[in-house]
Assembly symmetry: C2
Homo-oligomer: 331 residues x 2
């Protein structure tokens, strides 16, 4: 973490480092040349559904189709020249893998992405399209970690974890900074929570800029590990049950749990049917393509597990990468 | 056409009236409080597909989900108070019907929309949602015209034709005005052509503001009546063959044909497969929902029936109203 200045205020003995507002502001300056300043959109008919005034931060329009471009870019451009020369590695086959490949290409350094042999061709193509090297492994967490270690030993590449990394969290927080610049008088901000990188960065940024703002996570009831972890103060395991919001099937880590417990007001849950309905409503009313994870905050508002009636609410739409061959509302 | 000032320059003995640039500028001032100033979006990967630099005017984000809100609103707000008191009527069950209902609601006047008993429930709901009255008829052009006449006789309502109307054409042209304000140095603008209202307004506005700009129509090869009419100088009948771009299955009228012959450089054709592929690419790469008609200009560029290699090209995305239950690339 050479280039990251972690404020003393945000660390304590033994606790994992978290970015402060100043780190997120620095991240914003660092990533701005490389990522889109995404627009904020609104829709009266979605307002009516939610009973609130909604402002959608459209990270579905972001590079690689997801907010992940922010965190990966901040991490890659935070490396020293010496670190950068040895490249970066990660084990996410999803949006973070593509985002890291993108960021590495922007800096002109090498990237390795570990993914199971079973990963869909489109995910492989995404990563290769940015010039990254795929290292295949067996489809188990152990094999992934081993393959990552192997790449690091062989190459000296820096591991960039999808969320257990203060540089990544700082990058993800830049979306909330922009949202509050564009709509300063929000009462609340809601972001989906999987591993917690986006929600951590959002909460630290938002409370830093506007202490009165409330910050909420939204999670599928079928994957309520963040909700349980937030309540218990321990990282609880993910549910065996599945959810359509495939980006959110990830446990918190101690770092993101600490950020959430310090900065987040509550986590709202959404039913699977509610997520599908919110996703479809967003496509049909706002005319934008969002992935299921992006629809979870709206679903939690519509189902009133987050009751923000009448409030001015910012929602971070996490991404827009969907398989258009089959949509979740189709039989 | 009480409140429309048609410039002398744009009329000649016996020819149907067309708006001049000044009428389109007046229309812009008239509609601005009631319609969205839609954003202009770009996508490097769609640029690569087309071999040109593309600027998409996103009328899919417009009120009622289509550019039609502009023309209908200009027509409704051009009525004298006396005319307005008697209401408006049209016979389009598609986007224009909803747009007229919307505009009438904004002005607080009555609207009747004639549609066949077989019209899909969602189109009926759209129109009723704005408080308009549906007058059902048999599903033939004759029955539609008769029902329209009947409403006019009974109520004194003003017929607002979907495109054979200088006020409507002036309203549609306001999208191109905004596009050229946002991106002044375009080499060309492409709009889809059905009845020709959008393309007429686009061409008059664009050539008025920037005489050097080239203006093109784009049409499905399966519905090439505008292409044939443009060549022959007569309004040619629509093809019996069908197209996925259901908004473009409409013949020109003498008014729009005259506008096209005077202001449009060429019309490009697109295959059905090309339209579906362009629509899907726009959903997947730009993450926005567009209807098939909106994809026809991009398809014509990709298929090089409009060869604008290397040019800076504005594209008017006509709308985003799609049945998400079944998408055209799905079997």
């Amino acid at each position: 973490m050479a280039a990251l200045t972690v404020s003393a205020a945000s660390t304590s003995a033994g606790a994992p480092a978290l970015p402060a507002l100043s780190d997120i502001a620095a991240a914003h300056a660092r990533v701005a040349p490389h990522v889109h300043r995404t627009p904020v959109m609104a829709s009266r008919s979605l307002d009516a559904l939610a009973g609130a005034r909604l402002y959608f931060k459209c990270e579905n329009f972001q590079k690689v189709g997801a907010f992940k471009a922010r965190g990966a870019t901040n991490a890659v451009f935070s490396l020293s020249d010496d670190e950068a020369r040895r490249g970066v590695v990660t084990h996410s086959s999803g949006n973070h893998g593509a985002a890291l490949a993108y960021a590495a290409a922007r800096r002109g350094i090498r990237a390795w992405v570990v993914m199971p042999e079973t990963a869909p061709r489109i995910k492989q193509d995404n990563v290769r399209g940015f010039g990254a090297t795929i290292r295949f492994c067996a489809p188990t967490p152990q094999a992934r970690a081993a393959a990552c270690d192997e790449v690091q030993r062989e190459t000296g590449a820096t591991l960039i974890h999808p969320y257990d990394d203060a540089r990544v969290i700082a990058g993800q927080g830049t979306a909330a900074l922009e949202l509050l610049e564009d709509v300063p008088d929000l009462d609340a901000i809601v972001a989906p929570v999987g591993g917690g990188g986006l929600l951590s960065g959002t909460a630290i940024a938002a409370k830093g800029v506007r202490p009165a703002v409330r910050v909420y996570g939204a999670e599928p009831a079928n994957a309520d590990d963040a909700w349980r972890s937030f309540a218990s103060g321990r990282v609880e395991p993910v549910n065996p049950a599945t959810t359509i919001a495939d980006g959110l099937r990830t446990p918190l880590c101690p770092r993101t749990l600490a950020a959430l417990r310090a900065n987040v007001d509550a986590i709202g849950l959404a039913s699977e049917a509610g997520v599908v309905a919110a996703m479809r409503a967003t496509w049909e009313r706002m005319k934008i393509v969002i992935e299921p994870s992006s629809a979870v905050p709206l679903a939690a508002l519509v189902e009133r597990t987050l009751d923000l009636a009448g409030a001015r609410v910012g929602i971070v739409l996490s991404g827009g990468n969907v398989d258009c061959d089959r949509l979740p509302w189709q039989p």
